[in-house]
């Protein structure tokens, strides 16, 4: 999952970034509205954390511009402007969630997880495909109840696939969503990761769709 943080306070942005990294997200940072808008416009993000009071272009304008250009990624507004009028306006501008400063990181992460799940059409915080269960709250993966240890990159990849269960995901898309902007993208590493995950899970839920990418699906053989 790849997140865009648009926040002009560098310290706060850094804190959020550290927490996102710890929680297994890839992220990009922008410190003004213009840069933020550009990144959101050109890169595929799974969610955006957007401050309203930004230099050059304010957050509400950035959001309105994205929505006008049909950018549909979920956006969480993070702002000190916590009056209900501000909240209504922010949501009217096309935001999907609203978090007032000062906030607790746990709440930010919980809301972010829920936001990503909802936008992918998932309702439960525990994603399940066949015997595989991925708990978005604590990043734990189990197969038939027993825990499976995954590296951070492996978890990111599996999580992205499981959020989009049943859909074919190209390698490029996977690369874009599990690495941040500065990462040296090499789609061959994706194949390596997928193979490692397949081995660790030991259940065939990741299918290769030749020439297109991967798809997560559980075909119940016993049925």
């Amino acid at each position: 999952m790849r997140i865009l943080i648009v926040e002009d306070d560098v310290t706060l942005a850094g804190q959020i970034a550290d927490n996102l990294k710890d929680a297994g997200y890839a992220y990009d940072m922008a410190h003004d509205g213009e840069e933020g808008h550009f990144l959101g416009d050109t890169e595929p993000y799974d969610a955006v954390i957007l401050d309203l009071g930004l230099p050059i272009m304010d957050g509400a304008s950035v959001l309105k511009k994205w929505r006008a250009d049909d950018k549909k990624m979920p956006v969480m507004i993070l702002t000190a402007r916590d009056s209900w009028t501000d909240k209504v306006e922010g949501l009217d501008a096309g935001a999907d969630d609203y978090l007032a400063k000062p906030f607790v990181v746990e709440e930010l992460l919980a809301r972010l997880r829920a936001l990503i799940r909802r936008s992918a059409g998932q309702t439960s915080p525990v994603l399940a495909v066949g015997p595989v269960r991925l708990d978005t709250r604590n990043s734990k993966v189990t197969v038939d109840g027993s825990a499976v240890k995954l590296t951070a990159q492996e978890f990111k990849l599996l999580s992205y696939l499981m959020h989009h269960e049943g859909k074919v995901i190209s390698r490029t898309e996977l690369t874009e969503h599990i690495y941040d902007q500065d990462f040296d993208k090499d789609s061959n590493t994706i194949e390596v990761f997928v193979n490692r995950i397949r081995k660790k899970l030991a259940v065939p839920i990741i299918q290769t769709v030749r020439g297109l990418g991967y798809r997560i699906e559980w075909e119940d053989d016993s049925a």
Partner: protein, 475 residues
Amino acid sequence: MNQSDNNVASDPVQLAEPDASRAARFIGSLTGRLVMSAVVWSFVALVVGGFVLSFAFRSYVLTDVDKRLELLLDTLIGISEVSPDGDFRFNQALADQRFVTPYSGWYWQVSTEEMEPLRSRSLWDFALDAHHEKRRFSLRYSIVAGPDGQQLRLAEHDIILPEAQQVFHYQVASNMAEVQAAINRFNWLLVSALALILLTVTLALVLQVSYGLRPLRQIKRDLGDVRAGRAAKLASARDPKLPQDLKPLVDEINGLIDQNDKLVQRARTHVGNLAHALKTPLSVIQNAVDGDDSEQSSTIARQTKEIRVHVDHHLKRARIAGGGTGVGLPVCDRINKLANAVAVIAGDKQLEMSVECDPGLMFDGEKEDFDELLGNLLDNAAKWAVSEVTVTVARLEEGLRRPLLEILVSDDGPGVPADKRDSMFDRGQRLDEQMPGTGLGLAIVRDIADMYGGNVKLSTAPLGGLGVRLLLPAK
């Protein structure tokens, strides 16, 4: 209903007050001063006029009497003769019954220094003082004491009759009682007429002053409307009947209101900026110590939280405008938007939010304030509800001085026990420390409701959870 409802409907100014202070207020008032000063002057003028009139009438009546006395005197002199042997007599009888009846009120007397005075029979045993030592050969009038306690108007003349060596002193008198009665009658009439005039003038003055000051009272009412939030500006400014001399005053007051609005607006903007400036660093501090269990970090975390509560409270309070806009805010549209926002922020919780509201209902106040009120109430309800939140809005008018909006927000959550409800309005009070929030929601709701002269009450909702009944001014 209940006590707090009465607060909304009653107006302290309309309460009865003691008569004494009312009279004092009247004298101190502009109306009082104008009327009182005019009445005092009218009174003085009327009294002086009354005296002049009374005096004039008296002289007129006396002149009339004096003329009759002079005529009588002339007649008396005309019929007098002195016989060759020096005897004084009348050559003709003075045939008038009035001079015969004792104490009739009409008298005559002729005297010399030596002679026993000749007197009318009506004088009976009384003699008029002849004052021979002060001889004057001209007609003169005076008022003297007469018989039977009468007051007499006396005309006297000293004459030297032909063939006589002596000076004859002629005196004719008439009782003043009749004259006095006429004067008294006149004076009584005069006083009544003047009193009537004074009364009429006072009444006219009161009417005139109250008519003249009516624009001022209108301005006062308009100002009251502005203060109560029923109007944004003095309506008199647009009144074509407003007197020219008051227009500058009204315009100045409106200018002042404008300036005040601008100041409030600026203060709100500053508050918003301050909020932004403070909250980002607060977030940074909070996140920096988050998850660190050292004593220092937990102290910082605690104090940061404390700062947050204070900042939130004062910033939110400062944002409250608490006044009518004169335009009115469509309530239903706003509640739906807020309910939507609350549902989004509530996140995964599957809530059924129903809003029952007539689209024509208007709130007489600022959008920001209404948003804070309903946003906090809905947010609170959404936090505690199991699955359902309902909002109903109704307009109350009957028996009220001004129309009110009654907004009921109910949830199907655990509710609040009756004995804990009052403390729910305290700043920082939270029933469940596990729930997110600063515990400011209901305190702010009450603050805003108070600013609008409204009222908020907690009860048990029909759904089983907390029911909040909010009363606000309707437009």
